[in-house]
């Protein structure tokens, strides 16, 4: 059973851009030890708004390390405005696909990038326009709201349509948040 692609294993075994970046002007860190992964991403943005260099430090499984590695490759040389749109799906695809229960590693990389960019801009992530709600599957708030706004209040139906709550944690982490979103939208009578 090799759940990982050759590309992913290569990025794990020969990670690119490891370490810190002393002259970074944006740093983002996500995750915690208890959950089994921490990702720290450093970016150096030049005066033209181009990401000149990026580095990472990661505590986590093979796919977390590979996701960080490829994310640095995918953003170096890109304008911040473009890099910020990097999706977790693009990371997973670039790695030659990832098993479903590992998708949260690609989400972690996107989160770390969002934080690094926010830090560079002098913002905090709470201002991030469209936060990830389901971290296992990388489902953003807008995707879930879209379904809710179509009148769907049934959590199983939301899961079926968005894939939120269907990840490795079985919805343990995101279900309460989505429940609250449903409540906020429909009010208490539902």
């Amino acid at each position: 059973m090799n759940q990982y692609s050759e590309i992913l294993l290569d990025h794990f075994r020969n990670p690119r851009n490891v370490g810190d970046l002393p002259d970074a002007n944006g740093v983002g860190e996500v995750g915690n030890e208890a959950c089994g992964d921490i990702m720290k991403l450093y970016i150096k943005v030049n005066d033209e708004g181009i990401i000149e260099d990026a580095r990472f430090e990661t505590f986590g499984c093979a796919s977390a390390i590979a996701s960080s590695s490829i994310a640095t490759e995918m953003i170096i040389g890109k304008p911040v405005e473009e890099a910020i749109h990097l999706s977790n799906k693009a990371i997973a695809d670039a790695l030659g696909g990832m098993p479903k229960h590992k998708l949260h590693c690609s989400v972690l990389a996107v989160d770390a990038l969002a934080r690094a960019v926010a830090n560079y801009r002098g913002e905090t992530v709470e201002d991030a326009p469209d936060p990830v709600i389901c971290h296992c599957m990388g489902i953003k708030k807008s995707a879930i709201l879209d379904v809710i706004e179509h009148g769907i209040d049934d959590l199983d139906e939301i899961a079926a349509r968005t894939e939120a709550m269907t990840g490795a944690c079985g919805g343990e982490r995101c279900r309460p948040v989505i429940e609250k979103m449903v409540k906020d939208f429909f009010g208490d009578e539902k």
């Binding site: 089994g36 921490i38 430090e57 986590g60």
Partner: protein, 395 residues
């Protein structure tokens, strides 16, 4: 590349003599229930294996039920004594089941399933070395207790459970006592009569036998309702034409492991202890989990702080070294090993754990090779870890 297999608790390679016995058994195609000579030949193979297993356990042949695996044996006893229309009076009348918090999923999830049927399941906690807390167990036992099921030795840490003490505690209270001995059988002497056990599970593939065959020992007067109803096979307790080839293989495997049990225990214990001492000496912030428990001689569970177990597993795999991990990331769940958490370990340490399980083919050279690879792996991964960097800064 030379490969090193240190995952014997997951499964073991088939012993060449077991293989030979199985190949020979393939020639014997008769149905053991048939009365002609073809049937008798198959019957004889099965009964010889039954006798070998019975002798190894100090049991009678009619107390040995062949099943399809260790998991089935565990299911058979747990469901079979508690099921609603159970032939087992105790299991029927009493409402509570006690298992330990560190059981294999085939016990844990089977017991959970009983909860849906109205039974109350108590999880007995373990101490920091992964050994069942006897005082708590004592307090959980009451006249409502139908079944106590505690594993003989844990698959992740190797911690041997105080089965004799538990048997004594239960004795005379008319409670059914089962032990999952899948990891212990064939490695340490077990006598079901001396221990006064009602049920015991074992599995072929952990003792250099084939996968897909197991045994449930059932004490003579104990009753159990079958999982698979049908013909009269296995004393009416497990229907289905017997798997002659696998049963013959299991018999051979049992014979072989009993023969050199003591010397293997000695040899593997020395190797394991040497290995652990080297690891702790050469790799900073490595901690042996459950080190102070009475442990199976071939099992070692070590946490390498500040890095994650699955990444260690994959990195060692590149060097041809096969180990396993209790980290959550290998299984896809959020929580790391329930066994390590039950020992009160913090999540970080549990996430960073690796299990090395030695076996018949393990040599000192294998372990020397593993140590070298391990040092490289741990250094490489720690150099990427923000936690390790913080640790170095603090030091």
């Amino acid at each position: 590349m030379k490969r090193v297999y240190l995952d014997h608790n997951a499964t073991t390679p088939i012993h060449p003599e077991v293989k030979a016995a199985m190949i020979a058994a393939m020639e014997v195609f008769g149905n053991a229930s048939s009365h002609h000579s073809f049937g008798r030949e198959a019957h004889e193979l099965i009964e010889n294996a039954r006798k070998t297993v019975a002798d190894a356990l100090g049991a009678q042949p009619e107390e040995i039920i062949f099943t399809s695996c260790g998991s089935e044996s565990n299911n058979l006893v747990i469901k079979g004594v508690t099921c609603g229309n159970s032939v087992c009076k105790i299991g029927c009348e009493r409402s509570e089941v006690i298992i330990s918090a560190i059981e294999h999923p085939s016990v844990l999830n089977t017991a959970k399933c009983l909860q849906g049927e109205g039974k109350i399941v108590h999880l007995c906690p373990v101490n920091e070395n992964g050994v069942v807390k006897l005082d708590v167990l004592e307090s959980l036992i009451s006249d409502k207790t139908a079944l106590v099921s505690i594993m003989y030795a844990n698959n992740e840490t190797g911690a041997i459970q105080p089965i004799e003490e538990i048997a004594n505690m239960i004795s005379g209270r008319n409670i059914i006592f089962h032990t999952d001995a899948v990891q212990a059988f064939g490695k340490i002497p077990i006598n079901v009569k001396k221990l006064n056990l009602d049920f015991l599970s074992l599995s072929g593939h952990k003792i250099y036998g084939p996968k897909g065959v197991g045994v449930l020992y059932k004490k003579k007067l104990r009753k159990v309702c079958p999982l698979i109803h049908g013909g009269h096979h296995e004393f009416n307790l497990r229907a289905g034409t017997e798997n002659t080839v696998h049963i013959a293989g299991l018999g051979k495997a049992v014979e072989l492991c009993i023969a050199d049990m003591d010397s293997e225990w000695q040899r593997l214990g020395e190797l394991r202890n040497w290995f652990e001492a080297e690891v702790v000496h050469r790799i900073p912030d490595s901690i042996v989990n459950g080190a102070d428990a009475d442990r199976m001689a071939h099992t070692s569970n070590i946490s390498f702080r500040y890095i994650e177990g699955e990444s260690i597993l994959y990195d060692l795999d590149f060097d041809g070294i096969a180990v396993s991990t209790g980290s959550a990331c290998s299984s896809g769940s959020l929580e790391p090993s329930h066994v390590l958490l039950a020992m009160g370990m913090d999540h970080g340490r549990a996430h960073s754990s690796i299990r090395f399980s030695l076996g018949r083919s393990t040599t000192k050279e294998d372990l020397v090779c593993t140590l070298g690879a391990l040092e490289r792996t741990v250094t490489r991964l720690r150099n990427m870890s923000p936690l390790w960097k913080d640790r170095i800064k603090k030091a």
